[in-house]
Each structure stands twice: as C-alpha cells, then as structure tokens.
Amino acid sequence: MAQRNGSDVMRLRITFSKGGPLTYTSHLDLARAWERSLRRAGIPLAYSGGFNPRPKLQLAAALPLGHTGEAEWLDVWLEEPMPVKDFARALVPLLPDGLVISQVHQVRLKEPALQTQIASAEYRVTVEWHPELVEGWDEPVEQVEARIKRMLAAAELPHEWRGRRYDLRPLIERLWLERRPELVEGQVGGGEVVLGMQLAARAGATARPEAVLDVLGMGEAFARYHRRRLTAAAG
C-alpha cells in the first residue's frame, strides 16, 4: 500500500477495461504492465522510498486469471502535477493490447486506499453447457430461473473453497438471469445462458462468481467471466 511521503503531488484514477491477450495476466503482472506503460509514456510517477523504490500504483480489486473487466480502477500517484488531458494523451497510444482507458480523473491525495473503498462487484457470466456436464440440466430450460429463485430463497448456502467452508448466501447481493438459455448451433442439447450477479467484494468478504455457478450446479461448465462494474462503499 502506498504511503504518503511528500514526493507525490497528484493522484489520478484510471477507469479501464482489461481483456484480449491480457485476459490471462495475473493481478501482479497487470500491475507491472501498467507500470511499464506509464514509464513508456514518461509519466512523472511518484516512487516509494527505500532501497528498492516502487512506483505508487493501486489496483482496486484483483481480477482473477481468465476474467475480463470493463470498468476496473487504478490509482496512480505523480511527483509532478500534469493536466489530466495530457496524461491520457501520452498514455493511451502506448498501452498494450487488452488495456483500454475509458476515463481518467483526479482524486484527493488523502482519499483512503482504493482497495478499502470497494463494496461489491457486478459480473456477467456466460455459461456454456452440455447436458452430460451439468447435473440435472437436461430438464426444461425454464428450470434455470427456478434454480436461481430457490438459491436466493435459501437461508444458507454452504460452500467450500480451497478447503475452507463458508456461507455463500450473504455474499450474493443480486443474482438474475440475463439471457435465457439459447441453443448453440452444432451443439446437440447444449446451450448458452447468461447470468448477472452482484457479489460482495469487501476485504475478508469476497465471493467469486465461480462459487455461485458451483452452487447452481454449473461448476463443470465452461464459462466466461466479465466484471462489469465495481461499486464503492457508500460514504
């Protein structure tokens, strides 16, 4: 986490999308891709002190490997002020394939760390399935909605991830069927269903969309995960 040490005079927040060839780039490697892009653009980055100075950058929330994101946030600290327009103009042409900036705006230096501001995340999950892969999914497609309803009505949704048991239910803020199952051409009896979900993304209380699919009985199906937006905590 970046500390104020007097060398930073400006803090900018970048809203960006991540996808394409960077879909499989980890959180740590994404930070490095940003650092290198900013260095290419000659942005006057503020650095941490110490023997191994690092540029002061903060990503809002880790996007798991293989997930794409549409409105991710990055905070960048500068050691010299520069107009936001110039910043964007210098940076945009030097971004790698897979990073697109949609907005840059200045935020107060004293704002708390970006990670602590996030409350929840909204996902679009596109699931492909073959009946033999998904238990019970050879039932009529209307049943998808029924399953979701049942899930939301449950008082508890025990789930296990990496050997740890926890209750998934309180972490699901919203869950809905975005597009009814469609048959994909050439796939006999298979189809594609699009789910929307808004899940908690607070420190120590974060749900992965994979967990929701798992509880829905679609854990074995191939799915594309797209984080549509991050929601900041109120206040």
């Binding site: 060839p21 499989y24 780039t25 290198r36 260095r39 980055l45 023997f51 490997l65 030097l94 394939d97």
Partner: protein, 666 residues
C-alpha cells in the same frame, strides 16, 4: 488457416499460466499473413518463461521482421499440461502472432542453446503434425533449421533437422531466407543444395559417417553427388591444421559463421504479459571471452571476442526505455569485468539514467576488488547476493582449468564484499574436473566455511554463503573434449562428502543430479547414431529433460538399451589424442592442435595467460585470416610463424556497418 480459437479458449482455463499461449505482447510483430512472401517461425523448445529471456531469439526476430518481404513469428514448447490439452482438443502447435499452425510456415528455425532440449524439439514437430525425420519430409513441408550453442555438435539431431546454422546467426538467417526464396517450389533436394552453399550452413543429408568396429568415427564423407561448392568456392576454409580426422573433403568442416562487428542490439523488445525468467531488457555488451578457461565451451566456441562500443550500449538503453518501459536492464557478456571500458560504461549509465529509476544488472563479475566497486556502483544501496565462480577450490586445480585466482585474493574480496554491505555470497564450483583429488573437493567446504567466517566477522549470524556445485561435463571443441565424465558412483560420494561438510547455519548447498549430468554429457558428445535413441526416448515419453521434476531417466536408459548403445561410451570414455570426433563436421575456428596443446598444458598444471595482450595462436585469426577489427580483443595480427603467408597489411580491417558478406574477395 488460423487454429480454432474457440477450442483454444476452452482449454486455456484448464492449464497453468495460460498467458504463455496467447501472444499479443507489447512489441510483438503481427504482419499481414497473406501479404507477406516468406514466413518464418522461430521455435524455442522450452517453456515460454525461459524462451522469452533468450536474447538470440529476440535478435533473430528483429533481423527477420526488419525485412519487408519476411515475417517472423514465435512458438514455444507448451508445458506438459498444455501439450496434453492441445492433443486432446486437436489443436496443432501454432505461432503466437497469427495463430497459424507451424506447417503453414515456409521455414521453422529452432533455437537449441542446450542439449537437453532434443526431445522437446521432437515433441514440437509432432505437436505440429510434421514428420520427425528430415528424410520423411519434402518440399511440401517447412524447412526445419536449427542453430544455437548446442549445434556446435549437430550430430545427435542430424536426423531431424534439414540444415544447421553454425555460429552467429544474424547474417546467416537472412542468407537462408534468400536461398529459400530462390528455390521456392523446387524439390527439397534443390532447396537443400541452395542452403548448403550458404557459409556457416551444415546440411547433414549431404554427408555420411563411417564408424570403426569400436564405435568411434572412421570418417565423415560427402554423399555422392558431392555437396555443392560454397559461394566463392576458393574462399572455402582450408584445413587449419594437419587434419587429425579422416577424409577432409567435400567442404568439411563447416566453419562457424562470425559477425565481424556486432550488429546493433534489438531495442524493441517484446514485453511478456506473464512473469518470465529475467523479466528485463538485455543488451549484449560483448560476445566471447579471452580468459581461456579450459572447461568453458562458450569461451572457446564464441571467439573472437567482440565488444560493443560504450556509446552504442548507451544509445541502445536510451532507445529501449521509451519503447519498452522496462525498469531493469541486464548488460550481458561472458565476463563483464573484462569489457575494456566497463568503468566508463557504468559511470555513464549512472550519469544518464540514474534518475530514471532504472536498475542495472551486471552478471559474470570476476572475484576482484575492481568488480566489487563496480557492483556497488550499480547496486544503489540494494544488496542481493554477490556471486563468484571460482569453479575449483584449490590453486592446483585452478591451474588445471586455467582460472588463475589465489585463495587469499578470493578471501580478501569476500571480506570486502561483506564489509560493503552484502550479507550473502554465492559461490559456484565444479566437481569431477580432470585431475581432481578428494582434497580438492574437501577444499570446497573449507573455502565456503572460510568465506562464512569472513561474513560472520562483519554481519554475525546473518552472513550467508550459498554453494552451488555442478558436475563438470566435458564439452566438444574445448581442451577437455578428450576427458571422460566422472562416473556417477564417485560423483555421489563427492556430493555426500559436501553434504556432510557443508552443514550448519549460514551455509546452503546445491548440486546437480548425476542423472541429468550423464544425459547432458551423452548428448553433448553424441554422434549421429544417437538420433535413434533421442527418438525412442521421446516415444517413451521423455520431455523437458532439463527439468529435474520432469526428466524421465528410465525412458532414456530403456531407449539406449533398445538401440544397443551404452551411454558410457559417449560420456565416460577418455578419448585418445588421435580420435576423430563426430562434432568435427563443425569448426569453431580454433585449431584442434591448439586444444590438444592446452589439454597437455593442463595435465602439466601450466596456465595460459589471457589472450588480449598476447596471441597464443588458437587459430581464430587464421580461420578468418583476412579479417580483423579494432572491436576484436585479439591483439593486432602478429607477423609470426603460425600465420602462414600473412604479411603486414594483409588483414582486412572491418569497419562498423560492414558485414561478413561485404568482405572483399581477393
């Protein structure tokens, strides 16, 4: 046609580090497939994480993509999980740029920096759906080219490769592409004949090897019809010494190609999207080494030493930073301390880039006070481990290997390193060196403990000494090519001794797996008959032989047994002075006679001084007899016996920008 990207998308979430397989990296070059005449795939038979830090591949990628009518793309060896997933999903091996299956390319150039990649080479051909053996391929298939350090002995993979690029590749690859373009659509035979005319190219199909009853090489002879003469036939390198091997005919040996002046280094380096080994920019500051360590393959094979001028290194860094954003630059050479202007270079880098938050790494430093000062200058307060490679722990053994440094000096330098703030020193040694005795091995432990004692005086119990002990592998084209590999049983004993002696706080020992060493030695010194063993080992599942947790030594032993060959014949056997070696199809430019003299000097414990000041006549100047350059660290060519017929002014002095192709013909 592109591979099925949807199928690829479905397997990627099932494998480790899928980012290795998607391409799209910043600075990767995706040319218009249809609009480009000649398509080359540069293939690296190890995993992406290692291949991405290979500077040779980066150089050739730049050279080939600079040609408007050529595109060069990349393919790395998929990790075992991905290879299995690709086979199951029927996805052929593809290039990262245009996602084309490898058979769609005109040429595939494999980089073979080390011998343990041979089964991966076969795996990549097979994943591509290409016939493994050159004799089973024709003009319908891409030409399979291979180059890199291991190909100074091309024979163990001669069955699988159409043509080898021996030596520096920068100029040769362009000639190879041009030769291919001239024979596009011709028969494979005609294509190979055109390639064989390029200097530095070895086409194994044009030569046959005859063996003696004892399994040694009797002669290497051109197959009729005889191979075509090289361009400007009279320039064909003549035998440099009385041929010690049989049948000096048909354009053999193939003299390695040399770039007389290092071409400008690549600066538009590809930025990996997943973390890789050496995730930084690299600038080669010097090629070759004048020290003459007798065990060192690179030191013998990369002659003459060519330096890049300070100004060009600085310009390269200046160009790299805005094009890549890399936060670290590695200055590469075999021996950084020996770069003539190393002090000026370091000073200039600090002056120019000191404020740019740029780290510099300077590997391969010598154990002297000067090097410690250098390391301190670039470290800017940061202190990772300090590495020394004395290789042997006694002065007697260091005389044998020609690495002169006294134990006192080493301890003084260690003390200085600790006093200047480093807490960890890494020491590199070898066991199994010729002439080694038990007390030499014992001395490794003694020296490591003495260094730790130095550290404790300064840092107390926080001082750390990491000792890395490799087993010496006798390599072709070195003075020790006649030596046998130490038998596995005594390697085990020596390693056990070191384990016992190097216990305790502040000491850490690493050593190499004797099975890995045996395999490396066998492949390094193998002949053409080993092709059958390599292929069988691959069929039995051998892959990633350089990876301890992947290597299937049992598969190799079974493959040897089935083929009726004994690995010991290749690895353990000490060679008589007059034996013809399979790798003598290639000449590094260094006389076999010189190597033999060096071997004999080592047996007498005699050293040979660094050759920057005084030429010892290794042969490299004779081999490129009409060329010399200020940027070579060879002293100006002497007018003395041993350089027959060369009078003052005979040597052509290369100027910057001039290539070997520009060499005037007399």
């Amino acid at each position: 046609m592109q591979i099925d990207l949807s199928r690829l998308e479905h397997i990627l979430p099932t494998v480790q580090k899928p980012g290795r397989y998607v391409g799209g990296e910043y600075n990767s070059i995706v040319k218009d497939w249809e609009a480009t005449l000649t398509r080359v795939c540069l293939a690296f038979p190890d995993v992406y994480d290692l291949g991405m830090s290979n500077l040779g591949l980066a150089i050739l990628y730049g050279v080939l993509n600079a040609l408007p009518d050529v595109l060069a793309e990349r393919a790395y060896m998929p990790w075992v999980d991905m290879a299995a997933a690709m086979r199951e999903a029927h996805i052929p091996l593809y290039s990262l740029e245009n996602k084309r299956p490898l058979p769609d390319f005109d040429l595939i150039g494999f980089s073979l920096p080390y011998e343990q990649l041979y089964t991966n080479l076969l795996e990549m051909l097979d994943l591509a759906g290409l016939p493994l053996k050159a004799s089973d391929r024709d003009e319908q298939h891409p030409l399979i080219i291979a180059g890199g350090h291991a190909t100074f002995n091309p024979e163990p993979v001669a069955d699988f490769v159409d043509a080898f690029v021996i030596g520096d590749g920068e100029e040769t690859v362009v000639d190879v592409v041009r030769a291919y373009q001239e024979t596009r659509g011709d028969s494979r035979e005609a294509q190979l004949r055109a390639l064989a005319r390029v200097s530095g190219i070895y086409v194994p199909r044009f030569y046959d090897v005859r063996y003696n009853a004892d399994g040694t090489v009797a002669a290497i002879e051109p197959t009729p019809p005889h191979p075509p003469p090289r361009k400007g036939g009279e320039q064909t390198p003549q035998p440099l010494s009385p041929p010690l091997w049989g049948g000096q005919r048909g354009g053999l040996p193939i003299l390695k190609r040399v770039v007389p002046i290092l071409p400008p280094p690549p600066t538009r380096l590809i930025i990996p999207t997943v973390d890789v080994a050496h995730n930084r920019a690299a600038v080669e500051i010097q090629r070759g080494c004048t020290r003459g360590c007798r065990f060192c393959h690179a030191g013998m094979a990369m002659r003459p030493v060519r330096e890049r001028p300070v100004e060009e290194v600085l310009e390269a860094i200046e160009a790299i930073l805005p094009q890549t954003g890399f936060e670290e630059v590695g200055l590469l050479s075999l021996s950084s301390s020996d770069y003539s202007d190393i002090e000026d270079l370091v000073r200039a880098i600090i002056k120019r880039f000191g404020d740019a938050h740029l780290s510099i790494s300077l590997p391969a430093l010598r154990a002297d006070s000067f090097s410690v000062t250098l390391a301190e200058a670039i470290a800017r307060g940061r202190r990772t481990g300090f590495t020394f490679a004395p290789e042997a722990a006694t002065e007697r053994l260091r005389a044998i290997i020609n690495k002169p440094i006294s134990t006192d000096q080493m301890l003084n330098v260690a003390q200085e390193v600790f006093e200047r703030g480093w807490r960890t020193i890494k020491l590199y040694f070898m066991i199994g060196l010729p002439g080694e005795r038990v007390d030499d091995v014992q001395a490794i432990a003694g020296l490591a403990r003495a260094v730790r004692a130095m550290g404790r005086k300064v840092h107390g119990r926080r001082a750390q000494v990491n000792v890395s002990v490799n087993t010496f592998v006798p390599k072709p084209h070195t003075p020790f090519q006649w030596v046998g590999l130490e038998p596995t049983s005594s390697v085990h004993e020596k390693q056990a001794l070191l384990r016992r002696e190097l216990r305790g706080r502040g000491l850490k020992l690493n050593y190499s797996d004797p099975e890995a060493t045996l395999l490396e030695a066998t492949l390094a010194r193998g002949d053409r008959r080993l092709g059958a063993v390599v292929q069988r080992a691959w069929a039995l599942g051998a892959r990633f032989d350089a990876w301890d947790e992947q290597r299937d030594f049992g598969a190799w032993m079974r493959a040897f047994a089935e083929a009726g060959f004994d690995p010991g014949f290749y690895a353990y056997r000490e060679r008589p002075p007059d034996e013809t070696f399979p790798w003598e199809v290639v000449s590094t430019g260094v006389h076999k006679k010189f190597l033999l003299e060096e071997y004999r000097r080592s047996q007498r414990g005699e050293m040979l001084a660094d050759c920057r000041e005084q030429c010892h006549g290794c042969g490299i100047l004779g081999a490129y007899g009409d060329g010399w350059s200020d940027e070579w660290r060879c002293p100006p060519p002497p007018e003395k016996p041993g350089f027959p017929g060369k009078k003052p002014g005979f040597y052509h002095t290369f100027k910057r920008g001039e290539t070997d192709n520009d060499r005037p013909t007399s």
